[in-house]
């Protein structure tokens, strides 16, 4: 069992102090020993920069807004429903969708690390991983929403989901008024990353 290392130096302290050099040094060692393929690293970065991101989640939300059957399936079993669209994988093996209503606004945090639905939203933004968000979202969600310029009606309750297990939560924001005639693609364009975490409203400029 690994030791706690309290009192003695961690192995990582042997690496260069500059973070970029530290990453480079570790990559160099692992490549020399045949343990890492640099092209695999490029492929992982390309996946999350160009292939998997919030457009996946926005597609799911737009479908939920425009298709009552899909919405019902999503709320009943989100993992199966989004998997059928090809949205499944690492950090998204168990998905639950929670729907905003005039009565309840949902917001997601991971106070212990940075759990986030990667197949639907990609890599979490820096603010989501910040100490300030992790510390405050559970205790004062309305003040955190104010940091994002969001004010809720006084009779709307806030339900904050702390992702402590491997369940990943997707917020379905409320469909904005006046969007009746829009296509699914036009609706998806109204759905920002932050609106699916619960720190923005759909249709509002991000």
């Amino acid at each position: 069992m690994p030791h706690d290392h309290s009192g003695d130096a961690h192995p990582h302290s042997l690496l260069p102090s500059d973070p970029a050099l530290r990453v480079k040094a570790l990559e160099t060692v692992l490549v020399r020993r045949g343990l890492v393929d640099p092209a695999a690293l490029d492929a992982i970065i390309d996946t999350y920069e160009n292939k998997i991101g919030p457009k996946n989640g926005a597609d799911v939300v737009a479908r939920a807004w425009s298709d009552p059957g899909f919405r019902a399936d999503l709320l009943a079993d989100a993992t199966a429903t989004v998997s059928a669209l090809g949205y499944y994988g690492r950090q998204g093996e168990h998905i639950v969708a929670v729907e905003n209503t005039p009565e309840t606004h949902n917001m997601v945090v991971c106070t212990l690390c940075s759990c986030y639905p990667w197949p639907l939203l990609g890599i979490p933004p820096a603010w989501y991983k910040s100490d300030a968000y992790r510390a405050r979202a559970v205790r004062e969600p309305r003040k955190v929403l104010a940091d994002f310029g969001v004010a809720l009606p006084p009779d709307t309750a806030v339900r904050v989901w702390d992702s402590t297990a491997e369940v990943r939560y997707l917020v379905i924001p409320m469909r904005p008024e006046g969007t009746d005639g829009l296509s699914r693609e036009e609706l998806a364009a109204l759905v920002s990353r932050d609106s699916m975490i619960g720190t923005a409203l759909a249709g509002a400029a991000a």
Partner: protein, 223 residues
């Protein structure tokens, strides 16, 4: 209390600074650190819970390091602790000798399938659920690991001793408290439990606000 990473409810952290939609990696080395961590994990020498615990054990470095510095530091520690690399190799004394684990290297053409396969943690094994939706439950107190002193747990300290209501059962999942320490998967039911904000905080913002926490059955007793 548990460790430095367990910061839910803490005071004094200042404002949240939103960052623009569309930015995935602020610096090139951030993406490299993430990719290197995933590729090292693919060697199969540790699991997700062990890697989370490695970050939590960074101690004072946890507070000092930025997000991806935590990742890369924990990856380096795990590589040495698990005997994949010798500590001397981190100082530049690397050899080009073929590594026994080289056959497990994640190939570029396998990345897409590895990422889309994921690693589900639900299991058929383990005890049946003893709590039903709507039932009142009490969270164990103190919150630190029952299995290993100072060990990994997913029970946040701010919930210790609180009374909540089961919203739903997610089925049986691997217990991180065991899995992070080589004690097997020990799956048990996980519940989404809703707590009134007034149960958790002296100054709740709104009388109807709630916090929902995913909690394992062994973290809970009937209220």
């Amino acid at each position: 209390m548990t460790r430095v990473h367990d910061m839910g409810g803490r005071f004094g952290d200042g404002p949240v600074i939103p960052d623009p939609e569309g930015e995935v990696f602020h610096d090139d080395w951030h993406g490299r650190a993430l990719a290197l961590t995933l590729a090292a994990g693919a060697l199969g020498q540790w699991n997700l819970d062990i890697s989370r615990h490695a970050r939590e054990r960074l101690g004072p470095d946890y507070n000092r390091f930025s997000y991806y510095e935590k990742w890369i530091a924990a990856t380096a520690d795990l590589l040495v602790e698990n005997g994949v690399l010798d500590a001397s190799e981190l100082t530049g004394d690397a050899t080009d000798a073929p590594h026994p684990l080289a056959a497990r290297k994640l190939a570029a053409e396998a990345v897409s399938s590895a990422l889309s396969r994921g690693g589900p943690v639900d299991r058929d094994a383990g005890p049946a659920p003893i709590f039903q939706p709507g039932q009142a439950v009490l969270v164990r107190r103190p919150a630190d690991s029952q299995l290993v002193e100072g060990g990994h747990t997913r029970l946040p300290a701010y919930a210790a001793g609180a009374r909540g209501k089961v919203l739903r059962c997610h089925g049986n999942h691997i217990l991180p408290d065991a899995h992070a320490h080589g004690l097997g998967e020990a799956p048990e039911p996980v519940y989404a439990v809703a707590f009134p904000a007034s149960e958790l905080w002296a100054h709740p913002e709104h009388p109807r606000d709630e916090v929902v926490i995913d909690l394992w059955q062994s973290y809970l007793t009937a209220a």
